[in-house]
């Protein structure tokens, strides 16, 4: 700082180095400006990716995608259990040999079907699609059977329904060992 102002004024016509580019690259592999721009771009890149990452929250307050659905004994053969319909949108069904979790979304336009105990079928209130207890469509406009969720037994013998994975009949996925549990 204790520059003599005169001196600095005299020194002024500095070597006319361009701001960036050719002049420097000629000097060889290493150049400050190269390092500068690479690390600057790197920093900006990391910052941008971080900002993107920012938009994927680590914790959610939605109902969990996986839930415990009690023990197999709690389900009565030949009955459709409605207890998780409201909280998780799932029909739990037990037939003679298996238990499966039907996604309570009509394959027509996404309404929630109802289980009609008297008529022994799922009926969609919107356009009248009907499904058997297995979820196979048999009447109304629904183009394909209801979907099933992944269902497994936890270590403690409890049923765990995992809504992140879906099994479709028309793709032959209902035979997958995780599309039902044997009972």
């Amino acid at each position: 700082m204790p520059d003599d102002p005169k001196a600095s004024a005299a020194r002024s016509p500095a070597p006319a180095a361009p701001a960036a580019g050719e002049g420097v690259t000629r000097r060889g592999f290493f150049s400050w400006i190269g390092v500068a721009w690479i690390s600057f771009s790197g920093a900006m890149g990391v910052a941008s990716v971080s900002t993107l990452r920012f938009f994927f929250p680590n914790v959610l307050f939605e109902p969990p995608q996986t839930f415990n659905a009690g023990f197999p004994e709690e389900y009565i053969p030949g009955q459709v259990d409605n207890r998780f319909k409201e909280s998780f949108g799932v029909f739990m069904v037990r037939d003679d040999s298996s238990i499966y979790a039907i996604k309570a979304v009509c394959t027509h336009l996404g309404c929630t079907p109802n289980w009609l105990e008297a008529e022994f079928k799922f009926k969609c209130p919107c356009h009248g699609s009907g499904f058997y207890i297995t979820g196979i469509n048999f009447e109304g406009p629904a183009p394909r059977p209801l979907e099933r969720y992944r269902i497994v037994l936890a270590d403690d013998g409890q049923i765990v329904v995992d809504k992140t994975k879906i099994y479709r009949e028309e793709k032959g996925e209902w035979k997958d060992p995780e599309a039902f549990i044997a009972a």
Partner: protein, 962 residues
């Protein structure tokens, strides 16, 4: 001057270099920021858990593999092999079938499509017809025809489809018949290997194999990429029913504890170190079948701490012991978290979290420490000075002092007040004097005058009267026999009779040590004869003693003297000091001149009285004792109803260096109630005055647990334990049981019969070995009455409780007369019936008269030829032979006393209803069908029992029980 314009002020290469350095800094800074943001303390913890799970799973896998039934597996595999060979052998037929199946598949497809298409046409036509019909259109009829047409077609297609499906099933059957059921075998094999498969899958998930999967494991959890299917992630439960109170608003708790405590709700980690340990008592906590499933109750509602935290310190962990603290300091650099209103509860106080949800119960199931603490609070009478929610309306803990002259004299009272344990080490009466803040010579001189004043006041303000002289002299040894046998020891203890410290229930009534130095014999005599005559609200029941017995007991109790070295007597009066004290008291209430005037007008005695009255006010004696002139004075202590939520900075820690937490403060306060005066300069009136209670460290911890449980926060209705009418009846009964210490003598609700140890000791004195005495004591103790509701008839029990008569002639212990009101009686009846889930209050008796043949059979069975019932059982006036200690209850009472159904159960298996009973088991529960005599009623055991029941019900008259 263009040249000038070309000028640069700074050297660009230099700037470039600065730029490069800055940018490098920026890059490093940004990377560091990302890493810092990514690398949270829970990540390595989850990695550790994966390794641990892998270890456990490998172990389990090995076991599962060994557990597989190899023979079975081999058989299935062989069968599969056979299927394979057969399908090779019968290739030709199989090919044919396959060909058939292919054709059938096409057919199924076509028919099904036809059906579905026609179905949609049908739906459309039906809709069109309905519309037309609704509009009364002339075209409706034509549409209807069309509808029928389509319907016919539909039926056809349906039929065709059904046929195709039948054929499909047929082909399948044929194939199976030809080569075997391959699918079925596969299924069987899968079933057999299910456990192995599951474990293998689990192992693959926690410990991926192969380079690709292992690399993927790192990539999916890498910084910035960990939003795509990471397997290390924050675990949380959102608890809509568990509110967290954040001052005037409540929000659902979001418990993330399981981010690190990954094994808490899984069996198999019991022996692993924290944070992975399985939570103890899974049947009560965390498991989904337990009453406190983790996804409904969470963790922090009981353990407290910051629900959302995922870091050890941030969660506000709190060590349970100095050792744990030292360990945490080492492992986690632990220190108390700042700015945390609700740090975790040390686990030794964890039961204080039960109360908010378990309101309105006498005891909380499984909360042993809390229950103990609650009993202690009632016993020592904390609620006398401190208002405490849940302890309202209880009787004062100490005896009334309104008839003091009837009972004792000032010579005893003075040293008692000064130092109660010196006279009776086990007393509940706390100590006020000679403590850390009033032991200096000046303090002692002052307190001596204060006690003098109190004694003077108490003996002045008594009702006139007293008891008459004893009608004779008693015999102390006989008295001791009575005291040890009639049941006094169910509630009282006498040091010289005890081998081990008496239980809390046996400290229900005052310890009797030294009573001979304390109470006048006339008072003792009158008291044991009829306690309510002296103190109507006493809980001491009437033992229905004869004059002789009362005299003997009095004589015995008179022999229980004060410990050696204890001397009755009152400190010297010091009028000058007393004047000063009286003046000090007055100065706080009036001007100096008035004080002088008032002093001049008072006699020494009046001054003493005044001082006594002031001191009783100050020390709050009336909190536990009824004292004239203080009947309505409000309690003097801090209210404790929300002590568990009290801000820690509102507690004065003074100069005492202990951890600044509620629990430490309260514990310290109970240990030495005056400790927070240490190092402070205070006038006598400003000094702390809470007395020192005679509690062991365990008892103190229990009391602290209770105090901590009294919190401000109200849980949501949905998460509280609501009492139904049965449980309400149970709790009301338990309250009475508690108040009258029934469990001191009876085993009830799974607890009690504390008196048994004294009976066992007596039996040992009579020469029995320790083990035998213990087992015999069951029979000689008051009966188990948990099943009383099922055993006896309500009307009988009602009468019995009002006026007990001996049922078991062999017992020397007496059921006392408690003098229950009708209301209390009914409460108890409802309690007993609710406890055994029997009907209340009445039930239809079996239809009478019974068939004579049955009665005859019953009579026969009870006779000496068979079970010989009356060799022990009394039957009305007919007594069995031998010593009464071998007798059994009067069967003539059965009709009015017992429930018929119970008689059957009892005869069938008495040990089941009453383990340890003297009643022999005539029917072997192991081989019931063959255990009865064969020659009565065709050898049918059930009929035999019923016959005996019916016979017993014919004995005695209708009202013989009263």
């Amino acid at each position: 001057m263009p040249a000038k314009n070309e000028e640069y002020a700074r050297s660009v290469p230099l700037l470039n270099m600065v730029f490069a350095l800055c940018s490098l800094g920026l890059l490093l800074g940004t990377l560091w920021m990302v890493w810092d943001d990514y690398y949270r303390s829970w990540r390595p913890v989850q990695r550790q858990f994966q390794a641990l799970t892998a270890k456990h799973t490998e172990e389990a896998l090995r076991q599962a593999e060994q557990a597989v039934n190899q023979e079975e597996l081999k058989k299935i595999q062989e069968e599969l092999q056979a299927v394979e060979t057969r399908s090779k052998e019968k290739r030709k037929q199989l090919d044919e079938l396959n060909e058939k199946r292919k054709r059938n598949t096409v057919r199924v497809y076509i028919t099904d499509t036809n059906f579905k298409n026609t179905k949609s046409v049908f739906d459309a036509v039906r809709f069109a017809y309905e519309e037309l019909a609704h509009q009364h259109s002339p075209r409706a009829a034509k549409k209807l025809e069309e509808l029928h047409e389509v319907q016919k077609k539909l039926t056809e297609y349906k039929l065709a489809n059904d046929q195709a499906l039948t054929e499909q099933a047929e082909i399948k059957k044929q194939t199976e018949a030809l080569v075997g059921d391959r699918a079925g075998l596969d299924m069987k094999r899968q079933d057999l290997l299910a456990a192995v498969d599951r474990l293998q899958k689990k192992l693959d998930a926690v410990a991926p194999k192969g380079l690709v999967m292992r690399a993927f494991e790192h990539v999916r959890n890498a910084p910035l990429l960990d939003f795509m299917a990471p397997d290390l992630k924050v675990q949380q439960v959102v608890l809509d029913n568990q509110n967290k109170d954040i001052n005037f608003v409540t929000i659902p708790r979001v418990d993330r504890c399981q981010t690190c405590h990954l094994g808490a709700d899984q069996a198999g980690y019991e022996n692993d170190p924290q944070p992975f340990t399985t939570h103890p008592q899974q049947e009560i906590y965390l498991a989904s079948k337990s009453p406190h499933p983790v996804d409904k109750v969470g963790c922090t509602v009981c353990h407290r701490g910051l629900d959302r935290a995922t870091d050890f310190l941030d969660a506000a962990h709190w060590p349970d012991s100095p050792e744990q603290q030292a360990q945490w300091v080492k492992s986690h650099d632990w220190h108390p978290k700042e700015h945390e209103t609700s740090p975790m509860l040390p686990s030794r106080f964890i039961e204080s979290s039960c109360l908010p949800c378990h309101q309105g119960v006498v005891h909380i199931p499984d909360a042993k420490k809390w229950n103990h603490g609650k009993d202690l609070v009632e016993r020592v009478g904390c609620y006398g000075c401190h208002k405490m929610k849940g302890f309202e309306g209880l009787r004062k803990a100490g005896p009334p002092l309104t008839r003091l002259t009837w009972k004792t004299d000032p010579q005893w009272a003075y040293p008692w007040i000064e130092n109660p344990p010196a006279f009776r080490p086990a007393t509940w009466m706390p100590r006020f004097f000679g403590l850390s803040n009033n032991s200096s010579p000046a303090d002692v001189a002052r307190t001596q005058q204060e006690i003098r004043g109190m004694v003077t006041y108490l003996f002045e303000k008594t009702e006139p009267g007293g008891f008459p002289k004893l009608p004779g002299t008693g015999d102390p040894p006989r008295g001791e026999k009575l005291v040890t046998s009639v049941g006094c020891l169910g509630c009282h203890a006498v040091a010289r009779l005890e081998k081990s410290p008496p239980s809390l229930r046996r400290r229900f009534g005052p310890n009797l040590d030294g009573i001979g130095s304390k109470a006048k014999p006339e008072w003792i005599y009158a008291w044991v004869k009829d306690p309510k005559a002296y103190f109507p609200e006493t809980r001491m029941p009437n033992m229905r003693l004869t004059d002789r017995e009362a005299l003997d007991i009095t004589a015995y109790l008179e022999t229980l003297k004060a410990p050696e070295g204890w001397k009755p007597g009152i400190a010297e009066a010091d009028p000058k000091l007393q004047d000063e004290l009286v003046k000090d008291q007055m100065r706080a209430r009036m001007m100096e001149e008035e004080v002088e005037a008032k002093m001049a007008s008072m006699s020494e005695h009046e001054k003493e009285l005044y001082l006594g009255q002031r001191m009783i006010t100050r020390y709050g004696c009336f909190g536990c004792h009824l004292i004239q002139g203080f009947e309505t004075t409000p309690p003097i202590g801090t209210e404790l109803s929300e002590e568990g939520s009290k801000e820690v900075d509102r507690l004065d820690f003074g100069f005492v260096h202990i951890p600044e937490t509620r629990q430490d403060w309260i514990t310290e306060k109970l240990k030495n109630p005056r400790i927070f005066d240490e190092g402070k300069v205070k006038s006598p009136d400003e000094k702390l005055k809470m007395p020192l209670f005679n509690l062991t460290p365990e008892e103190r911890e229990a009391v602290v647990t209770v105090i901590l449980s009294m919190v401000k926060e109200k849980p949501q209705m949905a998460s509280t334990y609501l009492l139904d009418s049965r449980h309400k009846a149970l709790e009301a009964g338990r309250r009475l049981v508690q108040e009258h210490n029934c469990q001191g003598c009876h085993l009830l609700d799974g607890e009690g019969q504390d008196i048994r140890v004294t009976i066992a000791r007596q039996l040992m004195e009579e020469g029995l070995g320790e083990e035998e005495a213990d087992s015999r004591a069951v029979a000689f103790s008051p009966p188990y009455i948990t099943g009383e509701g099922a055993r006896v008839r309500s009307d009988w029990l009602f009468r019995f409780l009002k006026d007990p008569t001996p049922i078991r002639p062999w017992l020397s212990v007496r059921m006392p007369t408690f003098g229950f009101t009708d209301e209390e009686n009914n409460t108890l009846l409802k309690y007993f019936t609710a406890l055994s889930q029997s009907d209340f209050p009445f039930e239809t008796p079996p239809v009478q008269p019974f068939p004579p043949a049955e009665i005859a059979a019953g009579k026969k069975l009870t006779s000496t030829d068979y079970f010989n019932c009356f060799s022990c059982h009394q039957q009305g006036a007919r007594k069995p032979e031998g010593d009464p200690s071998g007798w059994a209850p009067d069967l003539a009472l059965a009709r009015s006393r017992l429930r018929p159904a119970w008689i059957e159960d009892w005869i069938k298996d008495p040990q089941k209803l009453y383990p340890g009973t003297k009643m022999p088991s005539y029917f072997d529960p192991g081989s019931f069908e063959t255990s009865g005599p064969d020659d009565v009623l065709g050898g049918d055991e059930n009929k035999q029992i019923q016959a005996m029941r019916d016979y017993l019900l014919t004995l005695g008259s209708d009202r013989s029980g009263s």
